[in-house]
């Protein structure tokens, strides 16, 4: 058992039912504070479904989600962000017609000034400064005045990470942040994630096991919607069942 304060996020018997199809079954996991945890599993294992439950996109059909001891099982999606959980989606999800800077600025604004109706947004230059700083930190400093839809795919993914960081989250959730990236972009993204994880708790969903093995401290393996294994990278590497699942997929 870990001490309660070591656990930032926990799920207890979480299940998710899509109109009769059991995409997730009885998943109980405790995520440790300050660690980089990866959720892996073959395609269709239920990783995104689990991710969506963790990030509040939809409520679980059964079970509970506890964030810092607080039950969020029935909380509305925006409450997760306010509680300090930020995410980037598997499918790129930005504000396409807004500039990169405005994308991040709006995300920062969500923390302070949601219903400010009568002042000019330029009256808060500190939000612009912070947006520029965040953009620079993900390598988009010189792209800040481009519309999001004009950015390359990899750049949009980085933009999304910057948006996720905007609310100074206690917990950062990333769903396959390298999906669709070139090897070069993938390397940069993994480097960025490593830097981010040095300062905060990160939960990363990844389909390619090899990518995360050297990076994360803990691994969760899902298969057919169930928790197959949990442990350090060494534990997982040594786990016969995991090896069978991944070899069966032709990936490793």
């Amino acid at each position: 058992m870990t001490a309660a304060s070591d656990v930032i996020l926990a799920t207890e018997g979480v299940g998710k039912n899509f109109g009769g199809f059991q995409a997730l079954r009885d998943v109980s996991v405790e995520f440790r504070r300050g660690k980089l945890t990866a959720i892996i599993g073959p395609n269709g294992a239920g990783k995104s479904t689990y991710f969506n439950v963790l990030s509040g996109a939809f409520p679980p059909s059964t079970g509970r989600i506890l964030f810092e001891g607080r039950d969020l099982s029935r909380a509305r999606p925006h409450s997760f962000a306010r509680a300090g959980i930020a995410k980037s989606f598997q499918i790129t999800n930005v504000f396409p017609e807004l500039t990169a800077q405005e994308n991040v600025r709006v995300a920062i604004q969500a923390v302070h000034r949601r219903f400010e109706l009568f002042r000019h947004r330029r009256a808060f230059p500190e939000l612009y400064d912070e947006a520029d700083r965040l953009l620079a930190s993900v390598g988009l400093g010189d792209r800040r005045l481009r519309r999001a839809r004009e950015l390359a795919h990899g750049e949009q993914r980085s933009l999304e990470v910057a948006m996720a960081l905007a609310c100074r989250p206690k917990l950062l959730l990333l769903d396959e942040p390298t999906a669709g990236m070139s090897p070069e972009e993938t390397r940069e993204m993994m480097g960025l994630i490593e830097r981010l994880a040095a300062e905060r708790t990160v939960i990363l969903v990844e389909h390619k096991m090899k990518l995360v093995m050297g990076l994360c401290q803990r691994l969760i393996v899902l298969h057919h919607g169930e928790l197959l294994a949990e442990g350090t990278p060494d534990d997982i590497r040594a786990n016969d069942e995991v090896r069978r699942v991944y070899l069966g997929q032709g990936a490793h």
Binding site: R76, H78, R82, F95, P96, Q109, R113, R114, C167
Partner: protein
């Protein structure tokens, strides 16, 4: 930076100024507008219905919600103002405020029920609820005049800072209405530029992402809906004073359809588009209805051609082609 910028065409530079000073540009245009329109009553129609389209555009163009029930706000604004004036002897200024307040209240109720739905369901719910409003006013005949409409909204003179102005003089009337529309335009621009305006854009662009950022999307939509209703209610109140009557058709769903057409003709999500759309629609109506009683058919054809070939509307297409990048 300036050295590297490509040479700008005159039109581009000009539209850049217009976009940067959108309130001043719009007001300047509206001040001169009666000079280029055949007669002042038409200019006043365009002014007031332009405000109606502006309010509608807050929801449609800036928040991404298509309502088919905005007649309810134009209508309750008009009736609220007219009833206050005719039955309760309220002064003209108070009557405008009452009309606007009533429309805001109606918008809060309809919005509260409608924002739970999305897309076509949102359009249908707003349509159905606005028809309820239509029948409610239709039935309250002693107060609203039923199918004959509310008559006798006669305003001969109005006192402004101790001056007595003749509201029967069409020029005076136009500029009195413009004073209200002008303030509304200024407020509208402030709202768009505010942090809240940024949230509206975010919701329009990507609801899920807005939610993930921590925005309460439902609450944001409701606030936008209510503000939109308030602007349309003000337009309704001004329309009652302008027409001296509130026809029951004001609340009819065709009036809701008209504002969709105006917004699309002018260019959804553009600041000046609603006035361009209202002007286009009403000028077409004015010209065609003299020539043929089937004018609605021709307006419909023009509308369809625009949707097919200029989906960004007149002003939106101009901005796309010549506007600032």
């Amino acid at each position: 930076m300036t050295v590297l910028d490509p040479p700008q065409s005159t039109a581009r530079r000009w539209l850049g100024h217009v976009a940067r000073h959108r309130v001043a540009a719009t007001l300047g245009f509206l001040v001169l507008f009666p000079l280029i329109v055949p007669y002042e009553a038409l200019a006043a129609n365009i002014l007031v219905l332009g405000l109606y389209a502006l309010g509608f555009n807050l929801l449609f163009g800036y928040t991404g919600l298509l309502s088919f029930g905005h007649a309810a706000f134009l209508g309750s604004g008009a009736y609220g103002c007219g009833i206050a004036l005719v039955h309760f002897g309220v002064g003209w200024f108070g009557a405008i405020l009452i009309g606007t307040a009533l429309a805001t209240l109606v918008a809060a109720v309809i919005g509260f029920l409608a924002i739970r739905t999305r897309g076509i369901y949102f359009a249908m719910v707003t349509l159905a609820l606005s028809m309820c409003v239509y029948y409610a006013f239709y039935q309250m005949e002693p107060l609203t005049g039923g199918e004959n409409g509310l008559r006798g909204v006669n305003l001969q003179t109005i006192g402004v800072f101790g001056f007595q102005l003749s509201f029967l003089n069409p020029t005076v009337k136009y500029y009195v209405l413009l004073a209200f529309v002008g303030v509304a335009i200024w407020l509208f621009s402030r709202l768009l530029a505010s942090p809240f305006g940024a949230v509206l854009e975010a919701v329009r662009e990507n609801e899920n992402r807005a939610r993930a950022c921590g925005y309460d999307v439902a609450a944001t939509k409701l606030v936008a809906f209510v503000i939109s209703g308030a602007f349309c209610g003000l337009a309704g109140a001004l329309n009652a004073l302008h027409l001296s009557i509130v026809p029951i058709e004001t609340l009819h769903y065709t009036t809701s359809g008209q504002v969709v057409m105006m917004a699309l003709l002018g260019g959804m999500g553009t600041f000046f588009g609603p006035f361009v759309g209202a002007a286009t629609f009403l000028l077409l109506q004015d010209v065609l209805s003299v020539l043929t009683q089937h004018w609605q058919l021709y307006v419909g054809i023009v509308f369809i051609l625009f949707v097919l070939f200029f989906p960004r509307g007149i002003w939106g297409s101009l901005l796309d082609r010549f506007g600032p990048r």
